[in-house]
């Protein structure tokens, strides 16, 4: 029967070709690999569209590492709001080591309230909330470096 690597290869193949299902039965062994329903894709190309562009939509390529997929479950839940870092720097939860954090999980925050500081080039940049709501998660530890766009807080907005 198939070797493990071959089964893996099969799984990859099904994942990448958009095939719906593969079933192999041989000498008492049965292997079934089922693809995932294709999402309906809406693509808005910036420029003139041609048939090649339509074709592009069909297959996820093995070449496309899915780094753009948001890997944090909080961000996909509809009623959660993510505060990303607008700059590169070092994340601080308080204005100085002796102070309390600006906010902690469970705190109510209002638009414009300072959530944290991101230091870059010795400048302390205060990051403010852009919604009213409750802090449900702090994504970064105090003193850690953050990238542009990196999630800092998850806030559940007030309805």
């Amino acid at each position: 029967m198939l070797k493990f690597e071959e089964i893996c290869e099969l799984v990859r193949l099904v994942g990448s070709t958009g095939v719906a299902r593969v079933e192999i039965e041989h000498g008492g062994t049965r292997i079934e690999v089922e693809g995932r329903p294709q999402p309906q894709v809406i693509v808005s190309p910036a420029a003139g569209l041609d048939s090649a562009a339509v074709q592009q939509v069909v297959l996820p390529s093995p070449a496309a590492p899915d780094t753009a997929v948001v890997d944090d479950e909080d961000s996909v839940a509809g009623d959660h709001h993510l505060v990303p870092s607008p700059i590169v720097g070092t994340f601080y939860r308080a204005s100085n080591p002796e102070s309390d954090p600006f906010v902690k999980v469970g705190d109510e925050v209002r638009v414009g309230q300072v959530l944290c500081i991101v230091e870059a080039m010795k400048l302390m940049n205060e990051i403010e909330s852009d919604v009213d709501g409750t802090v449900v998660k702090v994504h970064v530890d105090n003193g850690e470096p953050v990238e542009y766009g990196q999630p800092l807080f998850t806030i559940r907005p007030t309805r």
Binding site: P62, A63, A68, V88, G89, A120, L123, P145, V146, Y148
Partner: protein, 446 residues
């Protein structure tokens, strides 16, 4: 040696710098915009930091984001590549002020050479031949007219802080100069925030010849021969080669001496390029100095065997250049560079998009520097350079033949490229004979 270097660039030059760092045992930090998460330099570097949105001003031109990325990753030095922040004296200064090393010349050298009329004055004071023209910025139109009358028409007005043709005007007689002056000043003011102009004698069919130089902290300055860059369209180079068909050994030596004198006059340390205009009569004059590594640097690497980016890093660290003192650098064979741009070869319209298929040429004498791969999407935000095809041959004839086959073996689907245009240039009799000047492409396309 540095233990960690941040590369403040993207595309093929970021990949090229990573290669040099790897050979020197240096850890690398890539920075990238939101649009460049899948760029090869991000995959190849030891660390990467997203520094901003796709627009260059928010990411690759964002000084504080780049500095912050270096700080949070503990990089000791920053290599700016070319373009973006590479010739920004202010950035070089901040890097130094933050206790890091800028891999390039000093902010002072960048500033001196960045101001074209100041550069002219510095060169004149060091006996580097310059075109007849103003000693510094022109005070007003009247001064310009008097000077033009003295040196004779045609003359050309250029912006003191300029580049890329903006603020530039050609005048064949006094009437044209009168009308050109104000519009040039206005264009310069709006493009560079500096409306001052300088004036030079206009050379009619010049070649663009540049000399690669290396200068280290111990005061040693060498040149590594010339690159012929006359094949350009709207000041964008398309094909470069070394050596130039126009230079005999005597002229090469004279121009090389001038390049070294120019470098010394600017108290320049690191790799740099001195550009000359070479007139039909064999006279040459200093045009400007590029205070960075250039796109076409591999042409020189192909004929000298010197790794220019490694030399840049060594020199920035304070080491002497690695070229043996007694070694006379002579070009070995002949090299061409073809810039493969994502653009329509007829209309020159940019052609971003998904690279669907790609095979690169290999075989003897061929080097390809690139960041693209099958499955990569060329974003519309940045310049259109996809790859540099470098070709080396025992002589110009072999290099020309090899160039054709290398470009024919470069297979790409999904975007249009300049390759069909370059293959047509390889059929041009004047190009094949080396009869080129900076107006070649106008004639060719005309």
């Amino acid at each position: 040696m540095f233990s960690k270097v941040l590369i403040a660039n993207r595309g093929e030059i970021a990949v090229r710098i990573i290669a040099a760092c790897k050979e020197l045992g240096i850890q690398t930090v890539a920075v990238h915009s939101d649009a460049d998460r899948d760029c090869l330099h991000v995959h190849l570097a030891d660390q990467s930091v997203c520094i901003g949105s796709p627009f260059p001003v928010s990411s690759y031109l964002n000084v504080s984001a780049v500095i912050a990325a270096a700080e949070i990753t503990g990089a000791e030095a920053i290599h700016p590549g070319y373009g973006f922040l590479a010739e920004n004296a202010h950035f070089a200064e901040i890097v130094r002020d933050c206790g890091m090393v800028f891999i390039g010349p000093s902010p002072e050298s960048i500033r001196t050479m960045g101001n074209k009329s100041e550069a002219r004055r510095t060169m004149a004071a060091s006996d580097v031949p310059i075109l007849p023209g103003s000693d510094g910025p022109l005070e007003n139109r009247k001064v310009a007219l008097a000077l033009a009358g003295e040196i004779g028409y045609p003359v050309i007005l250029k912006a003191s802080s300029g580049g890329g043709g903006r603020g530039m005007r050609l005048a064949w007689h006094e009437g044209e100069l009168v009308s050109a002056y104000d519009s040039a000043a206005a264009e310069a003011a709006s493009a560079f925030g500096d409306g001052t102009l300088y004036l030079e004698k206009y050379v009619e069919k010049p070649r663009h010849i540049e000399f690669q130089i290396l200068a280290d902290g111990a005061g040693r300055v060498v040149h590594l021969g010339e690159r012929e860059c006359s094949v350009q369209r709207r000041h964008q180079k398309l094909i470069e080669e070394s050596p130039s068909a126009a230079l005999g050994s005597e002229l090469r030596e004279a121009m090389g001496r001038a390049a070294i004198a120019a470098t010394k006059a600017a108290r320049y340390v690191n790799a740099g390029t001195v550009e000359f205009l070479l007139a039909e009569d064999g006279s040459f004059s200093f045009m400007e100095m590029n205070t960075r590594i250039q796109v076409e640097h591999p042409v020189t690497e192909m004929v000298t065997g010197v790794d220019l980016v490694k030399e840049q890093i060594r020199i920035a660290f304070g080491e002497p250049m690695s070229i043996p003192k007694r070694r006379k650098i002579r070009p070995n064979g002949h090299a061409f560079e073809f810039r493969v741009n994502a653009e329509d070869p007829e209309t020159f319209a940019p052609s971003p998009g998904l690279i669907e298929e790609l095979t690169l040429p290999g075989g003897p004498g061929v080097r390809v520097d690139t960041h693209i791969y099958a499955g990569y999407s060329v974003p519309p935000y940045y310049d259109s350079l996809l790859a540099k095809v470098l070709v080396h041959g025992a002589d110009r004839a072999e290099a020309l033949i090899r160039s054709r086959r290398a470009l024919e073996m470069f297979r790409i689907k999904g975007v249009k490229t300049s390759i069909p245009l370059q293959l047509r240039i390889l059929d041009d009799e004047d190009f094949l004979a080396g009869r080129i000047d900076t107006h070649f492409m106008e004639r060719f396309l005309g």
